[in-house]
């Protein structure tokens, strides 16, 4: 049984604007965001004046303005009564839709526009070597010379120690991400061919235990994704609404070493640790809200910038037991051939990471409606999307469905 908020709202408009590295025209984040938003409004068949709520992900790195939400609002000439940027790192992307559901259910507004956007540029260097100033505590971590991979590697180190996961298990994820990416015309690694577990293990060490091919690639181009959300009574007036069956979110810290100063919280347990994340809470909330269980899910997308994160998320999303993610993937459960549909664009490792990964929700909606040409998953009626950011700091989970549960 779904709870009060389960299936209370739906996506009735969708827009995307995406560029590749080799495209002659380099669109800015603001151009991408404006175009995708306009597409979503057109797709929903509503007037811009009907947008009552406007939520954006965090300000794009490539287009710093004091209040980016206002900057984009100004381009669109809309006049919402609720508007804000949703932080929570990458979890804030699905967070825009979560706030959208709450806003339209308040009855004060009818339609929410939810957008993330980013474009690569000189300020977005390759992920593996980037200065971790934005991801590390400026006084207590940054002066020691961390990189983003080395901060995630603290969790990988503990995860492998506590649960016995091996480098081969981590590598298996990268292999399957790549297989999916080869089917996507925009994936960063679409022309790089298949890889093997040995390829991953033989790629150079970036920050132990993470090899180059264990790491995400920054998406080389630009992406914006936009959604129009409305409540159930209005959604029925639109063609093919995609129902938001349930959602959840949790944030536990900002800096990874300070996560070890958190204790006596339900999600973490009495003792500080690095291996329980807010994803478990977010998933539990989403399942309870929707009345669905992991076995009901047909297609799964995770926001996982390093291979081991996929294993942890498969566990916390309930697809296998805690600590058994490695065995789960080695048994073929996420295989491109014959496994569950998992990261069908190629994931952060092979599609590329950008704009807080909201394109994973677009992809899931495409799959649900049979529009994923070249990589269509048969009978994909219900999809789960995970968003995450910080060093495993913030997590969100959203379950979407073609049918509305009664």
């Amino acid at each position: 049984m779904a709870s009060r908020l389960g299936y209370s709202a739906a996506i009735v408009g969708i827009g995307r604007c995406m560029t590749k590295r080799e495209d002659a025209e380099k669109l800015t984040a603001l151009q991408l965001g404006s175009i995708s938003s306009a597409n979503a409004i057109k797709n929903a068949g509503i007037k811009r004046g009907q947008i009552g709520a406007f939520f954006t992900g965090r300000c794009p790195t490539s287009y710093r303005t004091l209040q980016y939400n206002q900057t984009l609002l100004n381009e669109l000439k809309i006049a919402p009564v609720f508007n804000t940027e949703v932080t929570a790192h990458g979890a804030g992307a699905l967070g825009t839709l979560e706030l959208g559901v709450l806003a339209v259910n308040s009855g004060l507004v009818d339609y929410a526009l939810c957008v993330t956007n980013e474009a690569s540029g000189v300020w977005l260097k390759d992920k593996v070597g980037q200065n971790a100033a934005g991801e590390s505590n400026p006084q207590f971590e940054a002066p020691f010379g961390p990189t983003t991979p080395s901060l995630y590697a603290q969790v990988a180190c503990r995860y492998m120690h506590e649960y016995g996961a091996t480098s081969e298990m981590l590598a298996k994820v990268a292999v399957e991400n790549r297989n999916w990416a080869l089917t996507h015309p925009y994936a960063a690694m679409r022309n790089r061919g298949k890889i093997t577990i040995d390829d991953v293990l033989n790629s150079r060490m970036i920050a132990s235990p993470l090899h180059l091919l264990d790491c995400a690639v920054n998406y080389p181009g630009g992406i914006s994704t936009a959604f129009i959300v409305t409540r159930a009574e209005l959604a029925k007036n639109h063609e093919n609404p995609t129902w938001i069956a349930g959602f959840g979110q949790q944030t536990t810290h900002e800096w990874i070493s300070e996560r070890m100063g958190a204790y006596d919280l339900d999600v973490i347990g009495h003792e500080p640790n690095l291996t329980n994340t807010g994803c478990a809470t977010a998933a539990k909330q989403a399942y309870e809200m929707s009345g669905l269980k992991p076995k009901d899910i047909d297609i799964v997308q995770t926001s996982a910038p390093f291979s081991f994160v996929h294993l942890m998320m498969l566990e916390e999303l309930g697809f296998c037991k805690k600590g058994e993610g490695g065995a789960f993937v080695m048994d073929g459960n996420i295989d491109f051939d014959g496994g569950m549909a998992f990261n069908t664009m190629g994931g952060y490792l092979s599609f590329g990471q950008m704009a807080q990964g909201l394109y994973n929700l677009h992809e899931t909606v495409d799959q649900i409606w049979g529009r994923a040409e070249g990589r269509q998953v048969p009978d994909a009626d219900i999809g789960l999307v995970h968003g995450h950011g910080g060093i495993l700091a913030s997590h969100s989970v959203m379950i979407v469905s073609r049918e509305r549960a009664q």
């Binding site: 593996v128 070597g129 980037q130 200065n131 971790a132 100033a133 590390s136 505590n137 400026p138 006084q139 207590f140 971590e141 940054a142 002066p143 020691f144 010379g145 961390p146 990189t147 991979p149 080395s150 590697a153 603290q154 969790v155 990988a156 180190c157 503990r158 120690h161 150079r204 060490m205 970036i206 920050a207 132990s208 235990p209 993470l210 800096w255 990874i256 070493s257 300070e258 070890m260 100063g261 204790y263 500080p272 690095l274």
Partner: protein, 152 residues
């Protein structure tokens, strides 16, 4: 032991934190952390302590997570602990840090129960989870005098 490349008086004046050409962040040592940096200047690792709960906290804490008290005191760490997690960094964030690569950053669990991010130096090593760690101070590639831990 060499002198710190950046003096406390400089920090107070707001010298940007940089490692070579790379800015390490926008924040400065600030009133809530100044005692920590003064401690490093005299080779002491200062922690926050709640005298009401008799509990140590990370030097950045402002209020006690247990009782909410805002009158946390400063106490020096004993300087012993264990490796909690670590990563050997081969691809450094900047040229300045690359000169020292590969190097090992990680989280140390202090005897006081506080966890801190730090540099682990094998002495004699190896660096592995639960290996004993002893406090020392070094000027790292960032030109900052920092609390590091010798492992083995």
């Amino acid at each position: 032991m060499s002198e710190p490349a950046i003096k406390l008086e400089d920090w107070a004046q707001g010298i940007p934190m940089r490692a070579g050409p790379v800015s390490l962040g926008l924040y400065q040592p600030s009133p809530e952390t100044m005692e920590y940096w003064r401690g490093i200047d005299r080779r002491e690792l200062m922690l926050r302590h709640c005298d009401h709960c008799n509990r140590f906290f990370h030097p950045k804490r402002i209020v006690c997570s247990d009782c909410g008290a805002s009158d946390l005191t400063w106490k020096p760490a004993s300087g012993t602990g264990k490796v909690y997690s670590f990563s050997e960094i081969h691809r450094a964030p900047s040229e300045a840090f690359a000169a020292g690569a590969p190097y090992i950053n990680g989280i140390v669990r202090l005897t006081e129960g506080v966890h801190l991010f730090t540099r682990f130096i094998p002495d004699p090593g190896p660096v592995k989870i639960d290996a004993p760690a002893r406090l020392d101070f070094r000027v790292l590639e960032s030109k900052w005098m920092l609390p590091v831990f010798l492992v083995g």
